[in-house]
Symmetry: C2
Subunit: 348 residues, 2 copies
């Protein structure tokens, strides 16, 4: 910048103004400055700008990669991989090809960041020291978004003392954190109601026992539907691993309500592997509304979360809070919608 100023025979303040408030600089001067910058290959340093200005102009996302990281979650896609129409080239490449819940949310975050003039800084798991990674990214941005259950709450609270933090899809753990969620209870309840009322299935099990708040809420909605229909409700969800056993023992219920689409697709594969057919022998439902469920056979009945919109909401909440650091972080809840396809017994 000093070099540019010298070359254009102006002060560094003028160079600064040329970039930040072009209207404050006489056109002729501006031209000279720009020409000098061009000659010198000058690119303003965002580090210095951020330091002086007190803000970076970027938002951060800790993009934990579920497929790579979670031992348990890295397998399910073998399922849909097989259920989906495919050519000679099936195999590993398909596994990572379908966008999952996190991918679609991330897309929404990206688009909204750009639309609002922010850059998005991504960093993710994959390395052992994920806490260090989160701290690093926190130091680079004006606001931070995280996926549920990826970062210990004490770490988030620590970061939230300095910059706004929004956690996706978890129940409001602290009023220091922003939240964007979906009404899991209501949505799962109406999905279960559909099975109960329309398909007249009464013997239902819930699959998915990972102890996340999303899962708990969905299980809760499932039970509520059964109870208010005067039916007995399971005390606990089944784990994914129990399903094959169940089938082998011939103890298949009428419906398997799964905590999410990936689980449902895995379950459908297990069902098919045992020579049964969904929905004829057992209804199967998911939750999320990912693409893979749309191209599976049978097509997956599920609840669609407005994933892109949720990503956009995350950015909106973050930016709002940036403008009013004193206000309590916002908790925004979006609504999900039933998607009736084939796996519940409906016909396309």
């Amino acid at each position: 910048m000093y070099d540019v100023a010298e070359r254009a025979s102006v002060s560094i303040a003028t160079v600064s103004f040329t970039y930040t408030r072009p209207d404050k600089v006489k056109p002729a001067t501006r031209e000279r400055v720009l020409a000098a910058a061009q000659d010198l290959g000058y690119v303003p340093s965002a580090s210095a700008r951020g330091l002086a200005h007190g803000r970076t102009g970027a938002l951060g996302l800790f993009a934990f990669d579920y497929l790579i990281e979670q031992g348990d979650a890295s397998r399910p896609m073998d399922g849909p991989a097989r259920s989906v129409a495919e050519g000679r080239d099936a195999g590993d490449t398909l596994i990572r090809s379908f966008p999952l819940y996190v991918d679609e949310v991330q897309r929404g975050i990206e688009l909204e960041c750009w639309a609002r003039g922010y850059a998005l800084l991504l960093n993710g798991g994959g390395r052992a020291d994920s806490e260090a990674v989160v701290a690093d990214i926190a130091g680079r941005v004006d606001g931070l978004a995280v996926f549920p259950n990826t970062v210990p709450h004490e770490v988030l609270l620590q970061i939230a003392r300095r910059i706004p933090v929004v956690e996706l899809g978890a129940e409001a753990f602290s009023d220091q954190l922003g939240h964007v969620t979906v009404d899991n209870v209501t949505a799962m309840r109406s999905l279960t109601d559909h099975l109960l009322k329309v398909h007249e299935l009464v013997e239902l099990q819930f699959v998915g026992d990972a102890p996340t708040s999303d899962n708990r809420a969905r299980f809760e909605g499932f039970r509520l539907a059964l109870i208010s229909a005067g039916l007995p409700a399971p005390q606990r969800p089944l784990s994914k691993a129990q399903v094959p056993d169940l089938i082998s023992r011939g103890a298949v219920p009428q419906g398997l309500v799964c905590c999410n689409d990936v689980t449902a697709l895995t379950v459908m594969d297990a069902v098919a592997a045992h020579g049964l057919q969904a929905p004829r022998d057992v209804a199967v439902t998911g939750f999320d509304g990912i693409l893979a469920g749309r191209v599976s056979r049978p097509m997956l009945t599920t609840v669609r979360q407005p994933m892109e919109e949720m990503g956009r909401a995350v950015v909106d909440v973050l930016i709002n809070q940036l403008g009013a650091r004193d206000r309590a972080p916002e908790h925004r809840q979006l609504s999900a919608s039933l998607v009736l396809r084939e796996s519940c017994g409906c016909t396309a």
Copy 2:
């Protein structure tokens, strides 16, 4: 940092060392510093660190969104949307759901960045002043990646004077820029050969006339195959818009070789809309290997680019160059592979 130092009764240098070279600090002291930081909610500022250190620890990607930005490209996915199996909920949401070429490459870039300890800074089109956006992101990172034909070359060259720049998929325009490409000519030539030799089609047209170097190379490969088979080769590619006309006029060739998968899927839709059937009435092929082509009917024969690997290569080239700013930027070429599915006449 000053506060932390004071609270831990050490100098700021010690605080700095605690984070950057923990082994240089006595464990007891380190504990004190960390505790003080914890109490104060201290998060090291990456801006300041970047400024002092001369590097940011982040790589940048100008992630132009083809679907949003390119008027022409935003339509094609209406095509596959229709060719793909779907439920009652078809429609707009499907359009953005399938990952495209750029998405898969971006995924590779993300994963490799994280694996190598870099954060990834994303910013994208969507706003009018894309040159300003590119300049902004260039000021924040140690190296920059861009998709082909998204940024004027003079802008890239300017940026490349300060930080390594890698352009994807374009022909080496300048030796100042790094490149990661695929062998378009060879790949398209062998795909065309397949049509010629195996399916004995001789009357072929190439679809896709956007003036990108990728397209030119693919058209070149197409022509080479025809010419070396002793057949007449078209002088110019067809535009996507000409295909429906062609069909209406009953002048459908035996095969439509498309510049990429999105184009091919659109073409297949046009074919179907006119009551014809691929591959029975006309063979159709694509290029890229995106997911949508795997779940279309008929399944799309294409050339698969190793998209994730290309993304990883981009990061590798960038980082290598960071370590040797004097060496000429690398031009890395990966190979593509034929994927024979149904739309060429092969059977699954």
